[in-house]
C-alpha cells in the first residue's frame, strides 16, 4: 500500500485528497487524462471518461503512462479490470486519422485495417465516405469533415484530425501590453498565457476559465497569435460591445477594424462580433444570416460561452472544420448533455483550471455565499399551499416577505455596489420601488442599459435591479454584492453565471458577497439547493442563515 493521495473507484471516478502532501504532484499527473468533476474543500473528484482519455492520447500520453500514474498515486490496489479498460479505451483513439492526401484531398486513413472495415460498414457513416483508395485509405468529402468526426466519436473510434487548418485572410493584430492611449501597461496573466499556448499547440479546442478570470483576454491573445481576420460569436449585443471595448483597449485594433453584426447593425469588418441570436434567427424556416460565415476568409472563429452554443451553430460549425476554432467557457457542463459535440466539432478541452486555484492566486475576488431563508407569512403560506403546481414556484419566489430582507441586505453593505437579480418582472418592479433603484430588464433599450451600467460603474447608481438579461456577459467590475431573489428553476449554470457577476477582481481586493433569498419550506428551497450544488462542488461553502438574523439588530462586521 503506497498511502498515496488518490483513491481509484470502480465507477472510474478518482478521489483526490487535497490535504495529502503529494496531492499537488498527483493533480498535475492526472490532470491530462482525468476531468475534474467536483472540487469541494477536502476531496476533489475526477472522472475517467473516454473523452478525457482520448484528450490525453491526443496530447501524446500513452496508456502505459496513465496506468503507471494511477498505480503510483493510488492509495489502494487498483482493480485489474479497470486498468485493462483504460488501456483499451485509449487504444481506440487515433486508429483512424483524417489527413490531407496530396492527390486525393481529405482522406480517412486507418492504422488498423479492421477498424476501417468496421467503421466503413456502419450505417451512420453512409454518404460521408467516398471511394476506397486502398486498403487503408478512404476518401472523405471535405464538407463532411465535421460530421464524420461527430459520427466516429459516437461509434467509439474518434479520429485524429491531422488535416490542418487554412490560415485565412491575414490581418495584423498585436496585444497592446505597453498600454494604449495613455493606459497603464499590463501583461497577460500566467494562466492566460498557458491557456493560449495550449490552444495554439492543439489548433482548435476549448479553454475553460471561471467567470472574471479574463476569458476575453485569452481570446485577444489568441487573435494576436493568429494574426488573421476573426469571427467572434457571443451570446448577446451587450456582451458583444464588451468584447469590442476590451479589444480596442487591449490590442492594436481600432474602432474601425471591429464590426458588430447584431439585430441593430450588420457590419462585416476584419474582426466581426456576431450574436448567437442573429445567426439563429430564421425567416420562413431558413437561416438568413449564414452568409456571414463565408463573408470573409476567417482565420479564427471564437465562441464565447461555448456551453450555451445553440444547436444550429453546431451545425454551421460542422462546416467550418478547416478554420481554427477557440471555445471559451466557464463550464463544459451543458444542461442538454451535448458535451460530445463540443469535443468533436470545436475541439478537445485545451486548458482548465479549478476556480479555487485561480482564486488562491488572487485573480478572482473571494466570495462569501449566503443563503437567507425567509419564513413566509401565514397568509402567504396558505395561498402557496393551495396554489396550482405550475404557479407554486412563482408564488414562493416572489413572496413579498423577501422585500424587507433584501433591503436589510442592501443596508448591510452601505459602501458597496449592489446588484439585485431576479427572474420575475413584477417582482423586480416591486423591488425597484421598494429600494428606489433603477431596473434593467429585457425591454430596456440597449442605450438605456449602457447608460445605467455606466452610472453603476461610476458609482452614481449604487443599487441596480436586473432581470435575466444580466445573466450573461455583462461586465460590472465594481459589483461586490449580488442578491438573488428568484431564478430560472434549478439551473446550475445560472447560479454560476450570477456568482460570476461578483467574482471579477475588485480594485481593493474586498470581500465579495453573494446572497440568495429563498422562501423556507417551499419548492424555492429545493431549486436553490440544486443551483447551489454546482457551486458547492466548486468549493464554495454556503452559509445558511434565517431571515430573522438579517433583519435583527445589525451584527458587528467582520471585515
Amino acid at each position: 500500500m503506497s498511502g498515496g493521495p488518490l483513491i481509484v473507484q470502480s465507477d472510474k471516478t478518482l478521489l483526490l485528497e487535497i490535504d495529502h502532501p503529494d496531492a499537488r504532484a498527483c493533480r498535475m499527473a492526472i490532470a491530462p487524462f482525468a476531468e475534474l468533476e467536483r472540487s469541494p474543500e477536502h476531496v476533489h473528484t475526477y472522472r475517467l471518461t473516454p473523452l478525457g482519455l482520448w484528450n490525453a492520447r491526443a496530447a501524446g500520453h500513452d496508456a502505459e503512462g496513465v496506468v503507471d500514474t494511477l498505480i503510483k498515486y493510488s492509495r489502494y490496489p487498483v482493480p485489474h479490470a479497470l486498468l485493462v479498460d483504460v488501456a483499451e479505451t485509449m487504444d481506440r483513439y487515433g486508429r483512424l486519422q483524417l489527413a490531407n492526401d496530396p492527390a486525393h484531398g481529405l482522406v480517412l486513413r486507418a492504422l488498423d485495417r479492421v477498424v476501417l472495415v468496421e467503421v466503413a460498414k456502419s450505417k451512420k457513416l453512409a454518404g460521408m465516405l467516398g471511394a476506397k483508395l486502398d486498403d487503408d485509405t478512404i476518401a472523405v468529402h471535405p464538407s463532411e469533415r465535421g460530421r464524420l468526426k461527430q459520427a466516429l466519436l459516437k461509434l467509439g473510434w474518434p479520429a485524429e484530425d491531422l488535416a490542418g487548418y487554412v490560415d485565412g485572410e491575414a490581418h495584423p493584430i498585436e496585444l497592446a501590453e505597453a498600454g494604449k492611449d495613455g493606459g497603464k501597461p499590463w501583461t497577460l496573466r500566467s494562466y492566460q498565457r498557458e491557456a493560449v499556448e495550449a490552444f495554439w499547440a492543439g489548433g482548435s479546442g476549448v479553454v475553460v476559465l471561471p467567470c472574471g478570470a479574463g476569458k476575453t483576454l485569452v481570446g485577444a491573445a489568441a487573435m494576436a497569435e493568429a494574426k488573421a481576420t476573426t469571427l467572434i460569436l457571443v451570446t448577446n449585443t451587450v456582451a458583444g460591445r464588451q468584447w469590442k471595448r476590451e479589444l480596442i483597449a487591449r490590442t492594436s485594433l481600432t474602432e474601425e477594424e471591429i464590426g458588430e453584426y447584431s439585430g441593430e447593425r450588420k457590419e462585416i469588418r476584419p474582426v466581426t462580433i456576431a450574436t448567437y441570436q442573429v445567426l439563429t434567427s430564421r425567416r420562413k424556416g431558413a437561416f438568413t444570416h449564414l452568409d456571414l460565415f463565408g463573408a470573409r476568409d476567417w482565420g479564427l472563429v471564437v465562441y464565447d460561452e461555448v456551453h450555451l452554443l445553440p444547436a444550429p451553430i453546431f451545425r454551421f460549425t460542422a462546416d467550418l472544420q478547416a478554420r481554427r476554432r477557440l471555445g471559451l467557457t466557464a463550464t463544459l457542463v451543458r444542461e442538454d448533455g451535448r458535451e460530445g459535440d463540443v469535443f468533436s466539432l470545436i475541439g478537445p478541452k485545451r486548458y482548465d483550471a479549478p476556480w479555487k486555484d485561480i482564486e488562491s492566486q488572487g485573480w478572482i475576488a473571494p466570495a462569501e455565499c449566503t443563503e437567507v431563508r425567509v419564513t413566509l407569512t401565514d397568509a402567504e403560506r396558505m395561498s402557496y399551499a393551495t396554489a396550482e403546481a405550475e404557479e407554486r414556484y412563482r408564488m414562493a419566489a416572489t413572496a413579498r416577505t423577501k422585500l424587507p430582507v433584501v433591503r436589510a441586505l442592501v443596508d448591510r453593505h452601505p459602501d458597496d455596489q449592489v446588484l439585485v437579480i431576479g427572474g420575475y418582472i413584477d417582482q423586480l418592479h416591486q423591488l425597484g420601488e421598494y429600494l428606489d433603484a433603477p431596473i434593467v430588464q429585457g425591454s430596456t433599450t440597449n442605450k438605456e442599459r449602457e447608460r445605467l451600467f455606466d452610472a453603476f460603474r461610476s458609482g452614481e447608481v449604487r443599487t441596480l435591479v436586473i432581470s435575466k438579461v444580466g445573466n450573461f456577459s455583462i461586465d460590472l467590475p465594481e459589483a461586490a454584492v449580488a442578491i438573488q431573489v428568484s431564478g430560472t428553476f434549478g439551473s446550475r449554470q445560472e447560479e454560476a453565471q450570477r456568482l460570476g457577476r461578483v467574482l471579477r477582481p475588485k480594485a481593493d481586493g474586498r470581500q465579495a458577497h453573494f446572497y440568495t433569498v429563498v422562501s423556507r419550506d417551499t419548492i424555492d428551497t429545493e431549486y436553490a439547493a440544486h443551483r447551489q450544488r454546482f457551486l458547492a462542488e466548486q468549493g464554495y461553502a454556503y452559509t445558511i442563515v434565517d431571515a430573522d438574523d438579517v433583519l435583527g439588530p445589525k451584527l458587528p462586521t467582520v471585515d
Partner: protein, 818 residues
C-alpha cells in the same frame, strides 16, 4: 519364455506394489482379488488411458520409442534400444532425462521387466495404435509395398519422383497420424481417354497429376487399408523423418516462457483490487436477488432477460454476471425456493433463486475470507460459466445455473491451468498462448481440444482476482496450496471435521494483509458528500446506510446526505442531536454549516404530521363540554384521549361510545365520514319476502290458453316418446339369445338370420337383430337393414337415425318385427 505382467508383479516386494497403487489409484476401485486381477486391470484400456493422460509429451515420446524398439520375436526391448532411438535425432536429449522418463514409465508399470528386457504393458497399444505417429511396417500392410521398402535406393527414387502435391500429403502423414481418409473416387482411375481432361494442378507446374493420393497408392508409398482410408508404411515415414529423428521433434523440457516478469507488488496490487471488486459485486448481486428473486425457468437456470437485468443493474457485462452467479451458487450463497401455488412469480415460475441463509454468515466475514470462499467455490465447482450465453448442440441458449453448463472436468481444467502458473517463477505473466503451449507439453492427451476451456479459466481467474496482470498472485498461490493440503489431509480426516476450521487460511491471511484496513471515519464536504477513504468498518457502514445515499464505490466510498436520507434516519429512530453527534464523531473535517442546517431543517418538519388510527371520535365546539366528558369517570372505559381542544378519540367503535355517552346522560349525535349527521331509527325485524298468492291465475276454472307453436311442440314431444317406447319394447326371445331353449341351434339360427335379413333388405322392413358385441355380450337392436355385403350388414336405426354396421359372423339371430 515371456514373462507376463502378473508374473512380474508377483516377484515384487510389497513396497513396490504399494507404490504402483499409489501412482495409479484407480486400480484399487474396487480392490482387485489377486495379483493376476491387478495385472489384468493395470493393462486394461481404461486404466492405461488414465495413466497415459497424466504423462507429459516427452515421457509419451519415450514410451513410443520403447514400443517401436520392441523386437518382433518376443516383444521385449531394452533401455539401451530406447536410448539409441531417442538420441537418433538432430538435437538428442540428455540420456539422463531419457532414463528418467523410462523410470517414470516403469513406476507406472507401463513398462516393466528388467532394463535389458523391458516389456510394454498390453493396454498401451490399444489406447494409442500408432506409436510416435508412425504407421505399421510395410510388411504388415501390403506385400508390394514391403517389396518396395526392402529396396532403399528404389524407395528413395520413388519418393523423389513424387509430384509436389503428393509430397505434401506424404509430409503431413509422416508427421503423424499416419492414416488419412480420402474422398470417394480419389482412388479411382480416370476414365479411359479422359486423362487429358483432368484439372491442372498448380503445385505440379500446372500439369494435371490426377489425384495425388492415387499416384501415391499406385507408387506403393501409401497403402489402402480400407475403402476411403490409406496408411503410410512405417519405413516410408522413417525415411521422411530423417531430419527430425525417428520420433519426430523431441522436447525434453517444457517450452520456455519469454514474457517479462512483473513486479510482484504490482501483481498483488492489481489482483487485490480485483478481489475487492468481486466481493463487492457479488454482494450487490445477492442484494439485488434478495430484493427481486430471479424466477427459475422450467428448463432450469435463470433466463437471458433476467441475466441482462442483473448485469445492467450491476453495470457489468453478462459473462461476468453469469460467472458471479455461478460462483455464488456454488458457494452456497444462492439457492432455490419453491413457491406455493398462489405465489407464482412474474413468469409463472414455481421456483425462485435468492440468497440462502449462508449469505448472512458470509456477509459477516472479513473481506479476505469472503473472497476466499468465492475463490474456493470457483476452483471446485463443476460448472463452466463460460458456456452461459453460448448455444448447445440443439442451438438453444445455455442459461446461467442451468444443467447444460455442468461440466465434470471443469475443476481439473482450472487446477491444471493454475498449476502451470504456479510452477513458474512468482510474478511471471505468461501470455495466453504460452500457457496453452505449456499445458500441451505437460499433458498433451488431456489438453487437446480443450484450449477454449483453458482460455476461459485464465479469463475467469483474472476476473476473480486469483491472477493479477496475468500472473498468479501470492495469495492465489497460497489458495492453491491450501487446497492441495486440504486434499492431502482429506485422507486423515475423512469426515472433513477440520476442513472448516475457524481460523482463516494462509491465503485469506495473506490477502488480508494486502487489503486496505477498514476505516471508521469520513471526510465531510460542503456539497454534502461524505467520503469514506477506505473500506468502512461494519459499524460505520451500518450508520451510513441509514443516514446517506450511496454514490460511488470502490477503494473508498462516496455518500451524499440528502433531505430524504436525513428523513430516513429520523424515521429509523435517530434524533437530530444523534445525527449531529454522529457527524461530529465520525468526521475528520469540520461539519459544514449547510449540513447542520439541513439536519435541523428536516428534523423541524419531521413529525409535523401525525398519522394513527382510532375507532371513533367525539367532537364538539364546546371545549368545556369536552373537558367534562374527558373528566367523566363513568366514561373511563372508553379510554378517551384529547387530540385537540375540540376533539377526543377512542379506540372503540362508535356504537359503544354512543351507548356509553347516552348512558352517562350526554346527548351525542353520530356523524358519518363526510360529517353529515346520521339519523338512526329503530330497526324492525322482518322475514324474507314471499310471493303473494294473488299473482297466480285469476280464475282456476278457465283453462289456460295455449299458443299453437307450443301445442305443436307438445305433439312432437309425444311422438318422440312413442317411438322411444316402441323401441323399448322387448326384443323377441330368439334375438335375445342364450336364455331360450326353444329357438333353433346357433348354426341354424345364423343361416336363418341371413335369409331373414336378405328378405328384410328387399322389403325395407324392420328387423330385430341379435349379435355378439366385442365384449362377448349378446345384444339386440331393432334396425332397418339397408344392404348386406363383404361380410357386413349395414342397417339404419330408426330411433337414433344412425347407420350401423354389423359383422355378419357376429349376428346370432334376426326376427322380423311384427
Amino acid at each position: 519364455m515371456t514373462i507376463s505382467l502378473a508374473d512380474h508383479l508377483r516377484t515384487l516386494p510389497d513396497e513396490s506394489l504399494a507404490a504402483l497403487l499409489q501412482s495409479r489409484p484407480d486400480l484399487v476401485v474396487p480392490v482387485p482379488a489377486d495379483v493376476s486381477a491387478l495385472a489384468l486391470r493395470a493393462q486394461s484400456r481404461v486404466s492405461v488411458t488414465r495413466a497415459l493422460d497424466g504423462l507429459d509429451r516427452f515421457t509419451l515420446a519415450i514410451l513410443d520409442a520403447a514400443r517401436l524398439t520392441r523386437s518382433p520375436d518376443d516383444g521385449t526391448t531394452s533401455t539401451e534400444a530406447v536410448l539409441a532411438m531417442a538420441t537418433a535425432g538432430p538435437r538428442p536429449p540428455a540420456p539422463a532425462t531419457i532414463r528418467g522418463a523410462v523410470n517414470r514409465l516403469r513406476t507406472l508399470f507401463l513398462l516393466y521387466g528388467p532394463e535389458h528386457e523391458l516389456r510394454v504393458a498390453d493396454g498401451v497399444d490399444e489406447v494409442t495404435p500408432y506409436p510416435a505417429g508412425l504407421g505399421r511396417p510395410a510388411g504388415e500392410l501390403d506385400a508390394r509395398a514391403a517389396a518396395l521398402c526392402t529396396d532403399p535406393a528404389k524407395l528413395r527414387r520413388t519418393l523423389l519422383a513424387a509430384p509436389p502435391s503428393a509430397r505434401a500429403i506424404l509430409d503431413r502423414l509422416a508427421a503423424g497420424p499416419p492414416v488419412g481418409s480420402v474422398p470417394p473416387g480419389a482412388l479411382q482411375a480416370p476414365p479411359l481417354g479422359a486423362e487429358d481432361s483432368l484439372p491442372p494442378d498448380p503445385t505440379n507446374g500446372g500439369a494435371p497429376t490426377g489425384s495425388p493420393v492415387r499416384w501415391l497408392v499406385d507408387a506403393r508409398l501409401l497403402v489402402q487399408v480400407s475403402a476411403g482410408t490409406v496408411e503410410l508404411p512405417r519405413e516410408v515415414a522413417l525415411l521422411l523423418r530423417r531430419d527430425s529423428g525417428p520420433l519426430g521433434p523431441l522436447a525434453a523440457s517444457p517450452p520456455p516462457v519469454t514474457a517479462p516478469a512483473r513486479e510482484a507488488k504490482a501483481v498483488d496490487s492489481a489482483g487485490t483490487g480485483q478481489t475487492m471488486e468481486v466481493v463487492r459485486h457479488t454482494e450487490a448481486l445477492l442484494e439485488l436477488l434478495a430484493a427481486e428473486p430471479a424466477p427459475v425457468l422450467r428448463s432450469g437456470g435463470i433466463g437471458v432477460r433476467e441475466l441482462r437485468r442483473l448485469s445492467r443493474a450491476l453495470a457489468l457485462d453478462e459473462p461476468t454476471t453469469a460467472l458471479l452467479l455461478e460462483v455464488a451458487y456454488a458457494a452456497g450463497l444462492l439457492g432455490e425456493l419453491e413457491l406455493g401455488g398462489a405465489a407464482t412469480g412474474r413468469y409463472g415460475a414455481d421456483q425462485q433463486v435468492l440468497p440462502t441463509g449462508a449469505y448472512e454468515a458470509w456477509r459477516a466475514l472479513s473481506l479476505a475470507r469472503r473472497w476466499e470462499q468465492l475463490a474456493r467455490a470457483w476452483l471446485l465447482m463443476t460448472r463452466q460459466a463460460g458456456l452461459v450465453g453460448q448455444r448447445d448442440d440443439r442451438d438453444r441458449p445455455i442459461n446461467a445455473l442451468s444443467p447444460e453448463a455442468e461440466r465434470a472436468g471443469a475443476p481439473a481444467a482450472r487446477r491444471s491451468v493454475l498449476a502451470v502458473l504456479a510452477d513458474l517463477e512468482p510474478a511471471t505473466a505468461p501470455t495466453e498462448e504460452e500457457v496453452l503451449a505449456l499445458l500441451d507439453w505437460r499433458s498433451p492427451r488431456r489438453s487437446r481440444g480443450r484450449e477454449a476451456t483453458h482460455r476461459e479459466v485464465l479469463a475467469e481467474a483474472a476476473r476473480l482476482g486469483v491472477t493479477g496482470l496475468g500472473a498468479l498472485t501470492s495469495y492465489g498461490r497460497l489458495l492453491l496450496t491450501n487446497l492441495v493440503e486440504a486434499g492431502e489431509r482429506g485422507g486423515d480426516d475423512p469426515l472433513g471435521l477440520r476442513a472448516d476450521a475457524e481460523d482463516a487460511s494462509t491465503a485469506a491471511r495473506a490477502l488480508d494483509a494486502l487489503l486496505p484496513a477498514p476505516v471508521d471515519h469520513f471526510l465531510m464536504q460542503a456539497d454534502l458528500t461524505l467520503v469514506v477513504p477506505g473500506p468502512p468498518d461494519p459499524g460505520l457502514a451500518g450508520e451510513l446506510e441509514v443516514v446517506a445515499e450511496h454514490e460511488s464505490a470502490g477503494g473508498a466510498s462516496v455518500h451524499r446526505v440528502t433531505p430524504a436520507s436525513v428523513r430516513r434516519a429520523l424515521d429509523a429512530g435517530y434524533s437530530a442531536d444523534d445525527l449531529h453527534d454522529l457527524f461530529r464523531r465520525r468526521s475528520r473535517t469540520p461539519v459544514p454549516q449547510g449540513l447542520t442546517y439541513l439536519v435541523d431543517d428536516v428534523a423541524r418538519r419531521h413529525g409535523g404530521l401525525r398519522v394513527g388510527s382510532v375507532g371513533g371520535y367525539v367532537r364538539s365546539d364546546d371545549e368545556a363540554l369536552l373537558a367534562e366528558v374527558l373528566a367523566d369517570r363513568r366514561l373511563e372505559s372508553l379510554a378517551l384521549r384529547r387530540l385537540a381542544p375540540t376533539v377526543l378519540v377512542t379506540p372503540y367503535q362508535v356504537n359503544r361510545m354512543l351507548t356509553a355517552l347516552r348512558d352517562a346522560g350526554y346527548a351525542p349525535v353520530p356523524e358519518d365520514a363526510s360529517g353529515s349527521v346520521v339519523l338512526a331509527r329503530p330497526r324492525t325485524r322482518r322475514a324474507p319476502a314471499r310471493p303473494s298468492v294473488t299473482t297466480r291465475a285469476l280464475d282456476p276454472l278457465v283453462p289456460p290458453k295455449l299458443a299453437l307453436p307450443r301445442l305443436l311442440g307438445v305433439v312432437e314431444q309425444i311422438r318422440r316418446g312413442e317411438a322411444a317406447a316402441r323401441a323399448a319394447r322387448r326384443a323377441p326371445a330368439v334375438v335375445r339369445g342364450g336364455t331360450a331353449g326353444a329357438g333353433p341351434t346357433p348354426v341354424h339360427g345364423h343361416a336363418d338370420a341371413l335369409a331373414v335379413l336378405q328378405q328384410a333388405v328387399r322389403d325395407r322392413a324392420l328387423v330385430w337383430v341379435g349379435y355378439v358385441d366385442p365384449h362377448g355380450a349378446t345384444v339386440s337392436r331393432l334396425v332397418r337393414p339397408v344392404s348386406i355385403g363383404a361380410g357386413y350388414l349395414r342397417a339404419e336405426d330408426d330411433r337414433t337415425e344412425m347407420l350401423h354396421t354389423f359383422a355378419l359372423h357376429r349376428i346370432t339371430a334376426a326376427v322380423l318385427e311384427t
